[in-house]
Amino acid sequence: MSHPDLDRLTSWVHGLSDEDLGAHVEGCSSCRETAEGLREEARVVAREIGSPERLAALKAGLLQHAGGRRRSLRGLLWQIPVAAAVLIGLVAVLLSPRGRHRITDGRVALEDGSVVAAPIDLASAKTWQLHAVEPARLRMSDRSTVELAAGSNLSISPGGRRGVQASLSSGRATFSVAPDARLLTVCSPAGRVEAADGKFDLKIVAEESGGTPMKSVLAGAIVTVFAGSISLSNANGTVEARPGQSAVLARAEAPLFLAAPQDKQEELLRRLEELAARVAKLEGEIAQLEQKNKQLKLQLSSNAGPGGAVWTTNPGQAGGVRVIQSGPGGAAGSTIIIEENKVELKTPEKK
């Protein structure tokens, strides 16, 4: 029997065909080796697609979060699988390389000037000063992810309640905070942001000051919340921001909410409606005045009234003026209309 090709062996190993290759594979070292390789491949792919440790840890985290949201009064029977899942998660945490941050996308420059490209792990026990050479993505040791805009400077260091904290000194970053009962702290030069879960965008705003060369001076930080409840604080106060809200952190002031785009739209619409109403009213008044003016002109043209008069300069020519006075000059109630003589000029025909 000739050697089966890789597809036939794959089908046989995975039980996808009825063909019986067992006897051949048993007696052929080459095919046996390939079949063993295919079984190993199946284990590798299965492990990578759905690593039981990683999925157990994720599920445990979600269950913990779910349980924290709703304190159920169920009995121990309900709590046992959750506790087991949490335990499995904890073991997975200890055994997996969670003590590391990982740059999963893009390139960043380190403090010593060297540039590293994803994927690369960074030990979480030390402080890292990262400068995004291009848009980069970082997964911190607590599973929170940071999407760094090009040119941003981020520092990650051990500390805080989660054992990791981040500090954005310039640029822009979007944080997706992994759910955890403990808060993740993200610092900025103008204040700090804390969240137990959710997603927010942090942008450091600098303004140019005069002089040559121009100096960049910190103006503040803008935080936009996409999901979760985020706490913003500095020396002057603390606010809680909800999804859809944006707030400004500035050194000299308490955190200040920015008007939501929807509010702005509503305000603009309201003002437009007001303007339209005013324009309509003015148009009505103008129409009334024009009507009144027309009537007066008709009346005065036909009869200037006692003491009234009509004067015309350059009669029959363009540019002339016609003055109509309804009563004696200076008398109370008399009306004077001054109008331009509009005579159509004809262009002489060329011969």
């Binding site: 890789l6 597809d7 794959t10 089908s11 995975h14 039980g15 996808l16 065909s17 390939t34 390789g37 295919l38 190993e40 491949e41 199946a42 590798v44 792919v45 299965a46 990578e48 697609i49 759905g50 690593s51 990683r54 999925l55 994720l58 599920k59 985290g61 979600l62 269950l63 979060h65 779910a66 349980g67 949201r69 709703r70 159920s72 309900w78 699988p81 959750v82 999963t104 996308d105 893009g106 994927p119 848009p135 993505r137 997964r139 992810t145 999407e147 997706s176 992994a178 759910p179 879960d197 959710g198 999901a227 979760g228």
Partner: protein
């Protein structure tokens, strides 16, 4: 007055509490996200985002006619949003034919890239076989094909996976 005492058909109670949602749909959500995204880590992120969204919208979930359909729709939308936001990785060059099986020690990142390089249909087959552990007959039912066609398609998907894994970056 007549009272109807015949047994009424009772719809199975669907999970709508946060804990029940996680318990019942965790793997379904992960599988749906993986099928779209391809990279296991991204699928984990999307799974997490999906459940956080479901926790926030628990009233809507409770009111949904089919909890499962609602949950999977949220999972799919979340995964698609993440896919759009993700910077596309450099494509892998594919070794066209005869690539050897993927052996230990495997380059995990490379394997993840190769998985992401498969089409959604190919990933669905790989996922049914290796994540959900479905038999060929179950795969045939789930994908609406005949068993022979499923076998050929899975072999081709694995061949492509090997080709992408061994092919080297462009």
């Amino acid at each position: 007055m007549l009272v109807d005492i015949r047994p009424q058909k009772v719809e199975p109670r669907s999970a709508s509490g946060p804990t029940e949602l996680v318990e019942e749909y965790f793997m379904d959500v992960y599988a749906a996200c993986f099928r779209i995204l391809g990279r296991p880590q991204d699928a984990e992120d999307a799974t997490q985002e999906t459940f956080l969204a479901l926790f926030r919208e628990k009233e809507k979930v409770a009111a949904a006619a089919s909890t499962r359909a609602w949950v999977l729709a949220i999972a799919r939308n979340t995964a698609i949003s993440l896919l759009r936001a993700r910077r596309p990785a450099a494509p892998l060059a594919e070794e066209l034919a005869g690539a050897a099986p993927i052996r230990e020690p495997a380059d995990r990142e490379r394997l993840h890239q190769a998985l992401a390089g498969l089409s959604e249909d190919e990933r669905h087959l790989v996922q049914m076989r290796f994540l959900e552990g479905k038999s060929p007959a179950e795969m045939a039912v789930a994908s609406g094909r005949n068993p022979g066609s499923v076998a050929v398609a899975l072999c081709r998907a694995l061949q492509r996976l090997r080709g992408l894994y061994h092919g080297g970056s462009r």
